[in-house]
């Protein structure tokens, strides 16, 4: 197992290298000049050129890449063109909201979706199954921002129970932290509830027709135990995959939710950086997202053997 983990970690190096090169090239090929953006509306060509020179943007692309890659190898993500801060610091400041949102969303999704999925599978064909599946289709189809605004309208504006926007770090008080996390997490979780519930239903349904379930029933096992101990455990592999990929997606792609709820997380940082053509920040954030994806995929693979002892590494 240790060898497997090491091999997987080594394999991430070329992946990250390719991502780094691609991101670097893609940013340079898209139109828009950071120097012009930074210089502002009334800047003269000479002023823009001066900024370009200062940022090193007048150098050939190969040289720019060399400098950036060299810094990266020394663990230096560089300084943001626009925010005038070290990117490491910038990302650290934004990681808490995004991570909190991702974890809260997945907690809600897993807690709601798995029992729903199991129930739907157990009662498959019944009205309960149809309602669960109907809701999950709805969850897929309604865009995140629509759900967000709907929840804001009902719970924040009309009822006034929860705040409309903003983020409060845990250090500022747990109550405020949770209050501000509920609406965005619920909003985001809808789509994952739909996804995980469907996946759980399908997997459990498949397992329920297996011989060992019949054996367990024949032995007089309680239905709840059959469902959650035997069926769910054996159906867990695809569910774990969906949950894992879901977390990775949440960390990289909560842009809309962070905008709708004015949460200063990594998604917002990415959008701000893209709009400002802040190359070093965009590169660092995308690289970070890639690391997260690779790490979570490794985590998922390792989790498989917890649920299915037949899988050996």
């Amino acid at each position: 197992m240790l060898g497997y983990i090491l091999r997987r970690l080594l394999a991430t190096i070329p992946v990250l290298g390719i991502v780094a090169v691609l991101v670097f090239l893609m940013l340079r090929l898209t139109p828009g000049d950071p120097a012009a953006v930074i210089a502002g509306d009334n800047a003269t060509t000479a002023q823009i050129e001066a900024i370009r020179a200062k940022l090193g943007l007048d150098q050939p692309i190969i040289t720019q890449f060399g400098i950036w890659a060299g810094n990266l190898l020394h663990g230096n993500l560089g300084e943001s063109f626009f925010f005038k801060k070290s990117i490491g610091e910038l990302i650290l400041g934004r990681i808490e909201p995004t991570l909190s949102l991702a974890i809260a969303t997945m907690l809600i999704a897993v807690c709601v979706a798995i029992p729903l999925g199991v129930l739907a599978a157990y009662k498959h064909g019944s009205w309960i199954d149809r309602i669960v599946m109907g809701f999950s289709v709805l969850g897929f189809s309604v865009p995140v921002f629509v759900i967000g605004y709907l929840l804001i309208y009902v719970f924040a504006i009309t009822l006034g129970w929860l705040p409309v926007q903003g983020y409060q770090p845990i250090s500022g008080g747990f109550g405020g932290f949770i209050q501000r996390l509920i609406l965005p997490a619920v909003t985001l979780s809808v789509i994952y509830i739909a996804l995980i519930a469907r996946m759980t239903r399908a997997s459990v349904l498949e397992v329920l027709s297996e011989d060992y379930i019949r054996t367990a029933r024949a032995k007089g096992q309680v239905e709840r135990k059959i469902l959650f101990r035997h069926a769910l455990k054996n159906a867990a592999v695809p569910i774990v995959t969906v949950v894992g990929i879901g977390i990775a997606l949440l960390i990289g792609g909560v842009v809309v939710t962070e905008s709708v709820f004015a949460i200063p997380g990594l998604g917002r940082l990415t959008v701000d950086a893209v709009l400002a053509r802040d190359y070093p920040t965009i590169q660092a954030v995308i690289l970070l997202f890639s690391v997260v994806y690779v790490a979570i995929n490794l985590g998922i693979d390792l989790a498989y053997c917890l649920f299915d002892p037949r899988i050996k590494y």
Binding site: A39, K85, Y153, Q179, V260, R277
Partner: protein, 527 residues
């Protein structure tokens, strides 16, 4: 499965949280939470002309002179000044008790260094610098400016209300090269920047400067007594307009600086919200042709634009509500001192026949005009499609190319042919305070390569602008402004497409918002 004690703990935590929230409210009573039109990322108001940075400047810095509500220049940090009979020597004395936020007194040396840095960057400052012979500190509190020839630009420049505003900074900060951003944010204004709480992309925080000594007069425009009535002001970065409106409706924030026009009906229908038009001169839309490339290198083709276009179509398409716009044919904003409609008959009325005639006379060969459209700024997006339609009716062929605003900004400084990433025409808007006279108005600068993007080249226009700069007498300035307008009809540096107004939306308990060229937060109260 969550155990019972866990549920109890979670519920207790929630209750504790809500009590913290409600308990915190009274302590926060004097905090104003505002959503400005953009997030503050750069904090050097001399280095950039971005309006959000100008607004930030008004929070922490003070000015030597300032415009009052009527648009007259009034002393601000200056206590008194004298003007020699030949109008060549000005002596300025600073008010008593002016302090920087670090507690040190404001000196004449600080002000001289600040004027120097400003005049290295700003368009009026640059012009003014050509008039200045010497600036010397007489003592800690007074300094003398000697001019080479008389100009009205000294006082109007020092009282310039909008980007770049000549804000005063301590000498050590003002000595920073004008092309490098400052790294210390100390002013002598009514509010202090809380650098430890500033988080770009989230919020920027200001607190009241307790040792600020306001002038004795009541506040008027950007002049008069700047009395900070709030302890703390937070500018929150909420990128989504709908979200900002929701937060205002729910009472979580107190003010939105520029609510988008399509959401105004939502705010109007709520009785707890007030809409305040703080800037009676508003903003002006403009189309800028590129004078260096065909077909707009020909003045006749540019004149055709002034016939083909009309203001109402643009204003209807973007603003929609006539309460918030005004058709104004005058080159200088309607309602301002130099505004005049003289000689504008027949122009900007969509006389397509006349436009086609002029194009024929000019020998326009039907080469498509590359018109840049920005798609991500609500206040600009609809302008280009209207321009395309009107220009096509007027005989032009138009190739509208769409991209985000940042790409437009990057592209518009390129002088290359259109096949190589260049452009023929683009649309933007100016705050009226920036285009009040021929020297200020950036698009009237016709100094060829030295002019801004679009690069008009007209010696006669430049002579008129110089004449204006040299003329201290207001009546004579008006005559020169009319001559500028007459010359504009010939050379068409740009086409102005109407004035519009963006109201501030506040909760009902906010009062004291001043009518001024920029949104300012002194005098504002929360009850």
């Amino acid at each position: 499965m969550m155990s019972r004690w866990k549920i109890v703990t979670a519920a207790a935590a929630l209750l504790a949280g809500s009590s913290v929230l409600s308990g915190g409210l009274s302590a926060q009573a004097q905090t104003l939470k505002v959503v400005m039109h953009s997030d503050v990322k750069i904090v050097d108001p001399i280095w950039t002309t971005a309006y959000i940075v100008r607004n930030h400047g008004y929070m922490i810095y003070d000015t030597l002179f300032a415009l009052d509500e009527k648009g007259d220049v009034k002393p601000q940090m200056v206590d008194s000044f004298t003007e020699s009979p030949d109008k060549l020597t000005y002596k300025f004395t600073l008010r008593d008790g002016l302090l920087w936020h670090d507690g040190k007194p404001v000196t004449a040396e600080d002000c001289i260094a600040s004027i120097k840095r400003w005049s290295a960057r700003d368009s009026i400052g640059q012009k003014l610098a050509t008039f200045i012979d010497t600036m010397t500190a007489d003592d800690a509190k007074s300094f003398t400016v000697k001019l080479k020839s008389p100009t009205g630009l000294l006082l109007s420049g020092l009282g310039k209300p909008s980007s770049n505003v000549p804000f005063m900074m301590p000498k050590r900060v003002a000595d920073t090269d004008a092309n490098t951003q400052i790294s210390e944010f100390i002013g002598s204004g009514p509010f202090v920047l809380k650098t430890d709480e500033w988080k770009p992309g989230d919020k920027i925080v200001y607190t009241k400067f307790k040792d600020y000594k306001p002038r004795a007069e009541p506040a008027s425009g950007l002049a008069g007594g700047k009395v900070a009535k709030l302890d703390r002001i937070e500018w929150l970065a909420i990128s989504d307009q709908q979200q900002a409106v929701n937060a205002l409706l729910a009472g979580e924030i107190d003010m939105i600086e520029q609510p988008s026009f399509d959401l105004i009906p939502l705010l109007k229908s709520d009785k707890s919200i007030k809409l305040i038009d703080y800037n009676p001169l508003g903003l002006q839309y403009t189309l800028r042709p590129n004078h260096t490339l065909k077909p707009f290198d020909n003045p006749k083709v540019r004149q055709a634009l002034t016939y083909a276009l009309n203001q109402k179509d643009f204003l209807d398409a973007v603003i929609g509500n006539p309460d918030y716009y005004k058709v104004c044919k005058a080159l200088f904003p309607c309602g301002s001192t130099l505004s005049s409609e003289k000689g504008m008959d027949g122009l900007l009325e969509s006389n397509f026949k006349k436009s086609q005639e002029l194009l024929k006379e000019a020998g326009y060969d039907g080469t498509p005009v590359v018109l840049l459209q920005s798609t991500d700024l609500q206040s600009l997006t609809n302008l280009a499609p209207v321009a395309k339609q009107l220009m096509e009716k007027g005989g032009f062929k138009v190739d509208m190319q769409s991209s985000d605003w940042q790409t437009v900004v990057a592209r518009r400084v390129r002088k290359t042919p259109v096949t190589d990433g260049g452009w023929n025409a683009m649309l933007t808007s100016w705050v009226s305070a920036d285009i009040m006279n021929p020297v200020m108005a950036g698009f009237l600068n016709a100094s060829c390569d030295k002019a801004g993007f679009g690069w008009p080249c007209d010696a006669e226009m430049e002579k008129l602008r110089d004449d204006f700069a040299r003329e201290p007498d207001i009546a004579k300035q008006k005559l020169i402004a009319e001559a500028v307008q007459a010359r504009w009809r010939e050379t068409v540096t740009h086409v102005h497409l109407g004035q519009y107004y963006v109201p501030i939306a506040t909760r009902g308990n906010i009062s004291g918002i001043l009518s001024a060229a920029a949104p300012v937060f002194w005098n504002v109260e929360k009850k």
